[in-house]
């Protein structure tokens, strides 16, 4: 094992040389080609993934801008709607107030008319009673007690 053995050196060199040649020519090319192909595929997939990521990022930015625009539009629409609603509310309220005032005025007018009518009716009734009382006075002599009683009865009738 320590002696110089040229035969072993030659056989080692020949064996290794032949092996290198055979592997280089026959066995390794398909394996290395496959590895290279896979490496290429992985690199392509990574590049594609990076491109997709970039595209997704750009889309996200675009959507963020659009979303901000939508928010802005929505706020504008909301403000406009609110303003219009306020305006409509004011108009409705004003109209309702005016209607209520008109109804109140009409009711007051009706009440006044009714009151006048009732008063007129009361006056007419009073006159009728007074006339009736007078006719009774004229039919017989009246004592002071009768006079007082008649007046009281007349007043009671008026009250009724």
């Amino acid at each position: 094992m320590f002696e110089f053995e040229p035969g072993l050196i030659i056989w080692t060199s020949v064996s290794f040389g032949l092996l290198v040649l055979l592997l280089y020519r026959v066995a390794l090319p398909p394996l290395l080609a496959l590895l290279e192909k896979r490496e290429g595929q992985i690199a392509a997939a990574l590049a594609e993934s990076a491109a997709s990521q970039q595209q997704a990022k750009a889309l996200l930015e675009e959507h963020k801008i659009k979303l901000a625009e939508f928010h802005h539009s929505a706020e504008k629409i909301m403000a406009e709607t609110k303003s219009e609603a306020e305006k409509a509310r004011a108009e409705i309220l004003d109209k309702a107030n005016r209607e209520a005032g008109r109804v109140l005025e009409k009711t007051q007018l009706d009440l006044a008319r009714e009151k006048e009518r009732i008063m007129a009716e009361a006056k007419a009734t009073l006159l009728d009673l007074v006339a009736a009382a007078a006719s009774r006075v004229l039919r017989r002599s009246i004592t002071p007690e009768d006079n007082r009683r008649i007046i009281i009865e007349s007043l009671d009738e008026v009250k009724q």
């Binding site: 030659i10 026959v26 398909p30 496959l34 590895l35």
Partner: protein
Amino acid sequence: MNVLEHLNQQTIVPLEVGGVDLSITNGVTTLWLAAALVFLFFYSLSKRLKTIPGKLQNATEVVIGFIQSEVASQIHTDREKWLPFLITLFFFILFNNLLGLVPLLSGPTTNINVTAALAIIVFLTVQATGVVKHGPLGYFKSMIPSGVPLPIAVFLFPVEIVSQFAKPFSLAVRLFANMFAGHAVMLLIISLIFLFKSYLILPLPIIGNTAIMMFEIFVAFIQAFVFTYLSALYIATAQEGH
């Protein structure tokens, strides 16, 4: 009794060509077996490649990916062209290291001649790469860092030449020493049985050798990685110069 004699080469078929002993030894057969297994492993794998890998293909891809990212990454010029050489170097050393752990098989990397041959191959590859890249003169010039004053350059040049030879020497000795040490320790622990000649000592070699065997599997991977990593580093240094 010298237990380390078990690590010596046993001639199977004597052969001499031009005065050089090319006998087929048990070490040579293990070398061939390792080479054949590595080839068959990758050949069968290349015939059954799937886009969605199975367990074996996945494990192999992990190892090759590791060699690509941790070893071949040292080389900055024509990295892909060097990959088959580095993969072969790693798996050839690994299979030789692992086969050395199989009982009745000779561990080729426990022989300095085998590791030296691999280191010489790396050395020649490194020098050839440097010469091709910079030209013969340019390669020698590239060994001296630019801007170094001439007196220091004169001193540095021989140091650099020595270091060129020290690199393969360290590669060969590191791999051999690590693998040999593991085998030597295992043999020494087994020899305790013969030394004490008692069954009572039996648990110690069994437990001790099992533990060392586990560690040797780890060492087999580490040493294959270190050898390949340093080879890639030397190739890169030859390409780029100082």
